[in-house]
Structure formats: C-alpha cells, structure tokens
C-alpha cells in the first residue's frame, strides 16, 4: 500500500471534505452575523440604531454574544430526561447542516451533487422536526411540551405545501439534482420565478412557517409560551438551537434561490447584451468600501476609525478578487474561474436578499394566532399549491404537446391559479373563525 494507492482511494473525497469543513467552521460565524444584521434591520425599521457599543457600529456584537453563551452555566432540569435533553439540539443542528451539503453555492462549490438532491434536502429538513419535539419532551415542563407540539404541528402542516411548491418548480426543471435545476434555468433563459410566480409565493410563505419565523412564530413567542421548546435550555445548548434555526433560514433561502431565483446565474445570464452586468459585483463592493472610508474619519474613537478603515480595505480586496477574472486575458486560469467566483457572489447576494425579505416581514406584520395559522396552512396554502402543480403540468403539456407558445400557456395557468386563490380566500372569509366556530365541531 504505497502512498499513491492511498491517494487514489482517498482523492474523490478530498474536495467535498474540504468544503464540508469550511461550511461547518464558518456557519456559526455567519449565523452570528445574521443575528446582528437582523438586530440592525429591526432597529432601522423602528427608527433607532441597534447595537452600537461592541466594536464600530456593533460589528463585534456576535463575538461578545458567543463568548457569553459559552461561559454560561449549563443548567439541566432535575427531572429531565438527560440523554434526550443532551441529544435534541444535536439532532436539530445536524439536520440543518446536512441540508447544506446538497446545495450549490457556485458551479464548483458543492459538497455532493446527489441525483435526488432536492428530495434529500426536503427529507433532512423533515428530520429536523425530531430535534424540536424531543427537546420539548425532554425538558419535562408544560410550556416546553406545548410549544414543541405546536411547533411540530406547524412544521408538518407547511411542509406539504412547501413540497408541492418545490414539485411545481421541479416539473419545469425536469431533474432532481440541484446543479441540473440551475443548468435548466440557464438553458431556458428565464429564472423560474418568472415562469411560476405563484409557486415562488407559496414557497415564500411556507418557508417562513417552516423556520418558525414571524408572523408564524407562535410556538416561540415570548408573550405566549415563554420560549416554547427552548424554555429550559440555557447557555450553549440554546445557542445550538438558535444556530439550527438560522441555519434552517439559510437552507430555505438557498433552496428558493436554487429553484426559483436562478442559483448562481447573474440576471439575464444567457443574453450577451447584458454582459455589462458582470461588472456589477466589483462596483458594488467598491461602493461599500467607499462608504466605509467616508465614515471612518467621523468615528468617535481612534480604534473604531482604524476598524472602519480595515473593513473598507476588506471590501476593496473583495472588489479586486471579483474584478480579477474580468480583466484577465481570456483563456487563462483566472478567466476560467469567473463562473465560480461570480457565481458564488450572485448566489450569496440572492440568499441575502431572501433573508432580508424574511426580516422585513418579521418586523412589519403581527403574529398569527395558532388556529389562524393552521387554517391558513391547510385550507388556503395546501389547495393552492395543489392547483399550482396541476396548473404547471397543464401548461407544460399544452406547450409541449399542442405546441402553443410557452408564454401564453404559463400566463393562462397563472391567471387560473390566481382565480382559484381568490376563490379560496372568499371561501375562507365566509367561515367564522375563533370561539364562535367551536360550537359546531368541538365539545367545548
């Protein structure tokens, strides 16, 4: 067994393992900074400034939070089931990170391009429900159990609608492999959000419910259930649940980006007329760098001035990395890396916008009551998603078998699906909700 033979055997696994290590190592940091971004966005929408103390403009806040959580006392309730209490956050985090393994960040950054990639992600997200239910159970407290059961019921309800919306996009793509789906969007020339907009809307709503975000966050609402299934968890165990929730957000945003928003393709990827859009990434990074340098002298403390200037320099370096493949001579290694680097940039930009929409919705809408939530999931979203799948199938058949122009077919089915959505809303409004409705079916 010489070194060559060992290397041959191990070689197909090296790159995926490297990507996996990078993702697992960077994910807590990224999740921490998404928390900071959320607090800043919340502050912006509430006309205040948010965390400003730790580091310039609060940029070191996640590090302070992480240190605090790591140093907290690890409290386990006396009558809790210790093995399950220990294992439940692990299940949540593992399933959330596992789902990231089948998602392509660029044409070359993917851990595993499974043939059944999309179904794998859906299945692993379904496994994440276990972590929540077992966590609530193991805490041996009423609030936790109720919160866990409510959360699991909500997740199961919206999982079906999300799956149907995904199936709608899969019909258009014709393949389950995530790389193939983006490839198909590139071939068709249009992102699937323009071909099946209602599917995107259904997936948006269902994914907000899947990640327990407001306005669907009744299971973890502080005013109703303390913190739901996370009540008895403190310190690093709570941080694991939190990490799992934000990783789920990233996963769901990545799925939506891959399926509907074109993955790593830039806008108008197949049209050579729009090639000037290739210069947008470095220009945007230079703009951010310029803003940092502009604000650096205004900072009150010397250390903060230096930090701001350092952040500006970082943005300039990013702009240089993004611009390098564009100015390199065609045919060199650097120019060949353009799809990889720019693809990663566009993908991350789209994921960031999707997560920004999540945060926007969180701070704008009031919370749904639990029975309203379930009613919405089962009586509006599920029938609409089934009609959506049927509509897309009909449109595809019409355009492939009868030869009608594709725009006409998809416009027709979109209009029909919108009409059925309006009908569902009208039917839903005629039923009384709340306490008045309980007399007919319940035994209250």
């Amino acid at each position: 067994m010489n070194v060559n033979a060992i290397f041959e055997a191990v070689q197909p696994f090296l790159l995926p393992v490297l990507f996996a290590v990078v993702i697992v190592a960077l994910l807590p940091l990224v999740a921490g900074y998404i928390v900071l971004v959320e607090r800043k966005v919340m502050a912006d929408m509430q006309v205040r400034l948010g965390p400003m103390r730790v580091g310039p403009h609060g940029l070191l806040q996640p590090i302070a939070d992480a240190v605090k959580l790591l140093l907290k006392e690890d409290i386990i309730p006396e009558s809790a089931d210790k093995a399950i209490f220990w294992g439940a956050p692990l299940i949540s985090v593992t399933c959330a990170m596992l789902a990231l393994s089948a998602l392509p960040i660029g044409p070359f950054f993917q851990i595993a391009d499974l043939n059944v990639g999309l179904l794998f992600i859906l299945g692993v997200s379904a496994l994440g429900i276990f972590g929540i239910v077992l966590g609530g159970w193991a805490s041996n407290s009423h609030y936790s159990l109720l919160g866990a059961l409510r959360s699991a019921a909500q997740l199961v309800s919206y999982e079906t609608s999300a799956g149907m919306a995904v199936v709608g996009a899969l019909l258009l793509a014709g393949t389950l492999s995530t790389r193939g789906i983006v490839q198909e969007q590139s071939d068709v020339g249009a992102w699937f959000v323009f071909v099946a907009p209602i599917g995107f809307f259904i997936y948006l709503v269902a994914s907000i419910a899947e990640t327990n975000r407001a306005p669907f966050d009744m299971p973890e609402a502080e005013s109703e259930l303390v913190a739901g299934y996370m009540t008895e968890y403190s310190g690093f165990r709570w941080a694991l649940y939190f990490l799992a929730e934000y990783t789920n957000m990233i996963v769901v945003a990545s799925i939506a980006t891959t399926l509907f928003l074109g993955g790593w393709l830039r806008p108008f990827a197949s049209t050579p007329f729009f090639n000037f859009l290739d210069f947008f990434p470095p220009v945007m990074m230079l703009g951010i760098a310029g803003y940092c340098f502009y604000r650096a002298p205004i900072q009150p403390v010397q250390l903060q001035k230096l930090f701001m200037a350092a952040v500006g320099l970082l943005c300039v370096v990013m702009a240089l990395i993004l611009a390098a493949p564009l100015v390199a001579p065609a045919g060199s290694r650097l120019a060949a890396a353009k799809p990889g680097i720019h693809g990663a940039f566009w993908f991350l930009l789209k994921v960031a916008s999707y997560i920004y929409v999540f945060m926007w919705l969180r701070f704008t809408f009031p919370r749904y009551r639990f029975d309203q939530l379930m009613k919405l999931g089962w009586q509006f979203l599920l029938p609409l998603s089934i009609v959506n799948v049927a509509g897309i199938a009909v449109a595809l058949t019409l355009s492939r078998t009868l030869g009608w122009p594709r725009i006409a077919c998809f416009l027709l089915t979109t209009v029909l699906t919108l009409a059925s959505a309006a009908w569902l809303v009208r039917v839903g409004e005629k039923q009384p909700t709340g306490i008045a409705a309980e007399g007919e079916f319940g035994d209250a």
Binding site: I84, N115, V116, F120, A126, L127, F130, L134, L149, G442
Partner: protein, 168 residues
C-alpha cells in the same frame, strides 16, 4: 470494498437499533431507536443503489411516521407505565420460537447453492438513473396499484381523523 464496509456498518446499526427498540423500558427511547433503525435501513438502500427508496424511506418513514409515533406517545404517556412490567408472561417461549425461526432461515440460506451469488458490480458511470426507472415503471406498468394506493391513503386519512375526534 467500501461498499461491503458500508453495508456491514449499517447492518450492525440496524440490528442493534432493532434490539433496543424492542427492549427499552421508556417508550420515547424506543421511538428514537426506531428512527435509527429506519435510517440504517435507508443507508442499506443507498448502498444497494436504490436512491429513490433511500429518499422515500427518510421522508415518509423517518420524517413522517416516527414523528407521528412520538406525537402519540406524548399524548398517551403515563408515568405509571414506566414502573409496570414490560414483558409478557410468555416472553421465554416467544424468544425461543424466534431463535428457532431465525436458525431455520439461516440453515436454509447456508445449505442452498445460490446464497453466495454476489451482487452485480456496475461501474459508477454506467448506472442508470434510478429515479427515472422507478417513475417510468410506476406510471406505466403499475399505474393501477398506484391509484389504488392513493385511495388507500385517502381512506386511512379519513379513518385516522374520525378515530381521533373527541366525540364520534
């Protein structure tokens, strides 16, 4: 070589999880070990190049049925049950019968001529896409059982809802 190692690991996991499902006192622990057993079976399916079944096993069995079991366990759990006798009075007879059954199957396998047929080894680049094959077969040859299965699921859904309502 890697194939057989993966199979033996998953097989060992499945058997150990199965034994733990049947012998745990706490029902929630049994449910968790059931999930582990089902995931090991999914791994065995994957090692047999049955990708679609691997996924369906995870989504339907582990992600759906096991969560359903855990829900029901939480609804019917009694602390009293933890201290009661867990096994029947006939457990010794049952164990002996199972061992005899297993020994019979093992003897039949060992004495037959074909039990050492190995699995066909296909190079990875020539494997047909399994999902497409399954879909083609399911929607062409086995269309009627497919429709009957959907009716079965509808009936089961209605039955479960009716069973679980408070006042029928």
């Amino acid at each position: 070589m890697l194939d057989s190692v993966v199979f033996y690991i998953f097989a060992a996991l499945a058997v150990i999880s199965g034994i733990l499902v049947v012998t745990r006192r706490n029902v929630v622990h049994s449910a968790i070990f059931l999930a582990t057993a089902l995931l090991s079976t999914a791994g065995i399916f994957l090692s047999l190049h049955a990708e679609f079944l691997f996924i369906v096993q995870i989504i339907v069995y582990t992600g759906g049925i096991t969560v359903l079991y855990v829900f029901v366990i939480m609804l019917v759990n009694l602390d009293v049950a933890l201290h009661q006798v867990q096994f029947n009075r006939q457990w010794l007879v049952a164990l002996l019968l199972s061992i005899v059954l297993g020994a019979q199957v093992a003897a039949a396998l060992a004495l037959s001529r074909g039990s050492l047929y190995s699995m066909p080894v296909a190079p990875a680049t020539q494997l047909e896409p399994n999902t497409e094959q399954v879909a083609w077969s399911l929607f062409h040859t086995y269309m009627l059982p497919f429709e009957v299965a959907s009716v079965l699921l509808l009936v089961a859904m209605i039955g479960a809802v009716v069973m679980s309502k408070k006042r029928v």
